[in-house]
């Protein structure tokens, strides 16, 4: 396995989509190649950072303002009553 092939498969690897034999091959490659090991670690960090970003946004992005929510609830009720 070359380094280029290894990097092409990193996401599939993290997704658990690499067949067993090839998985072993990637694992062995990462033992002998520190660059690919670093690449894999950094890709994991990318995923973690995006996840943290989601948590940050969850704290920061508020729900609908009460006026808009009120309108939606009214729309919902009048529609359901009209059934």
């Amino acid at each position: 396995m070359t380094c280029e092939e290894f990097t092409d498969r990193v996401t599939d690897y993290l997704e658990g989509r690499v067949p067993f034999g090839e998985r072993i091959g990637m694992w062995m490659h990462s033992i002998i190649c520190e660059h690919c090991r670093r690449y894999m670690e950094q890709m994991r960090r990318v995923v973690e950072l995006s996840d943290e970003l989601g948590e940050r946004d969850e704290r920061e992005v508020a729900g609908p303002d009460s006026e808009m929510k009120g309108e939606l609830l009214e729309e919902f009720s009048s529609r359901r009553e009209g059934e």
Binding site: E5, T7, H35, V47, K69
Partner: protein, 207 residues
């Protein structure tokens, strides 16, 4: 799924409380997902509002073949997609889905030699993960880098990695294959890694 059908029953019965809970559960997430399709916040908010109206109108026709979440976000995706295409910053979604997916895979190719070994290996990041200011800085770099991704990559990375959806949910809502989804995810993550490397790469410490 039981929760889902329970919720649906209450919605169909006109239970305002159930609709209120639905809004609380999904509204903010819908805005974040819509923002991956369109250029600005107010357009994203409009798409979300339209989606709620479509949900109210469409409840009777919802057959429960997908989860409520998948149904709601599919409507949102269609609304936001249309608006994003009107803004026409990028070629539209359907054109892009015809694009051969292997074209971009070797964009890091100049970092490998003819034998496929690293000629420009990844540079370590000079980041102390315990350092709060730096962490915040990294987050805002990732935030901006996601905004700069091509739309399909941006949407998939947002749903999978930022919002934490499963690959099945993403494929259902976007109506794409799992393989296709993984390619978009891989390309997006690769670009984010490169941007982080450019900003935080510790060239002096490279081995």
């Amino acid at each position: 799924m039981d929760d889902d059908s329970d919720c649906l029953d209450r919605l169909l019965a006109g239970d305002e409380e159930a609709f209120s809970e639905l809004i609380d559960d999904y509204h903010a997430e819908m805005i974040r997902v819509a923002e991956a399709f369109v250029d600005d916040r107010s357009t994203a908010e409009e798409s979300v509002q339209e989606t709620w109206t479509a949900v109210i109108e469409g409840l009777d026709d919802f057959e429960g073949r997908s989860s409520l979440k998948t149904w709601i976000f599919s409507i949102l995706t269609n609304q936001a997609r249309k608006r994003g295409e009107k803004e026409a910053r990028e070629p539209n979604w359907s054109e892009l889905s015809e694009e051969p997916l292997d074209r971009e895979v070797t964009e890091d190719a100049n970092r490998f030699n003819a034998e496929g070994r690293w000629s420009k290996p990844p540079v370590p990041w000079s980041v102390d993960p315990e350092e709060k200011t730096l962490r915040r800085e990294m987050l805002s770099v990732v935030d901006e880098a996601i905004d700069d991704l091509p739309r399909r990559q941006r949407v998939v990375v947002t749903m999978r990695d930022v919002e934490g959806w499963s690959s099945d949910e993403v494929c259902d809502v976007l109506d794409i294959s799992n393989g296709n989804q993984r390619v978009l995810l891989h390309r997006g993550r690769k670009k984010l890694r490169r941007v982080l490397e450019e900003v935080f790469g510790d060239v002096g410490g490279a081995t």
